[in-house]
């Protein structure tokens, strides 16, 4: 208690300069703690941000054929899959 009292007296006697330094240290400490313990608060999205996938109706086999030929020049991978 005595040491804390001495510190407070020193802060009081040093004027605004010491107080500002302590405030900066406190803010920095809080920011470091947030980054370490609650990264989602600092970075509210995953690093590997996912593209929002969109599902639309296929309008028959010709729909796929059109897409397929539009993408000529690319390797193409067709997946025939069920949702579960």
């Amino acid at each position: 208690v005595g040491e804390l009292g001495d510190l407070l007296v020193a802060v009081k006697n040093s004027g605004g300069g010491m107080r500002n330094k302590l405030r900066r240290v406190a803010v920095l400490t809080v920011l470091v703690a947030m980054t370490m313990w609650a990264p989602s608060l600092v970075r509210p999205y995953p690093v590997e941000a996912a593209t929002a996938a969109k599902l639309t109706d296929l309008r028959g086999i010709d729909d796929l054929k059109t897409l397929f030929n539009q993408d000529k020049g690319k390797v193409r991978l067709v997946l025939l899959v069920s949702p579960t």
Binding site: K54, V75, R76, V78, P83
Partner: protein, 133 residues
């Protein structure tokens, strides 16, 4: 089963070859009693090179099943296909110069299930995109 296969495509192929000049068509349809459009997971195949289509009448699976005999030479060694009415849980990989007239040509390999044929698909990606990792 399809979920495991598509997740493998996302993590082992698309994420590992981000620069590959590739297009993926994911054609979804009901095959199991538990399937429904509402159970489609938007978080499964998230790569921007993937186009998702819902095929309620199973038109694509039926179309491919009818042509599976002619594609038999390109079936991966680990795959099994018993000539059913609807082809599903399947991948089909086509070369960049493939064109679809009556049917798509230049089929490299197809596999069923996706998980069963994955080693061949992985090997094909290594051959096609070795500089695109």
């Amino acid at each position: 089963v399809c979920v495991a296969g598509t997740r493998w495509v996302q993590t082992e192929l698309l994420q590992k070859y981000p620069a590959a000049n590739l297009r993926v068509y994911a054609v979804w349809f009901n095959m199991l009693a538990s399937d429904s459009r509402a159970k489609w997971l938007a978080t499964l195949l998230t790569d921007s090179r993937v186009i998702h289509r819902w095929d309620e009448p199973k038109a694509v699976g039926t179309w491919y099943a009818a042509r599976s005999a002619s594609m038999r030479p390109e079936l991966t060694p680990d795959s099994t296909w018993g000539d059913g009415p609807v082809l599903w849980d399947t991948f089909l990989l086509y070369a960049a110069d493939s064109r679809w007239d009556d049917a798509p040509n230049r089929l490299i390999h197809w596999g069923r299930t996706i998980v069963a044929g994955r080693q061949t698909l992985k090997s094909d990606f290594e051959t096609l995109f070795s500089t695109k990792r």
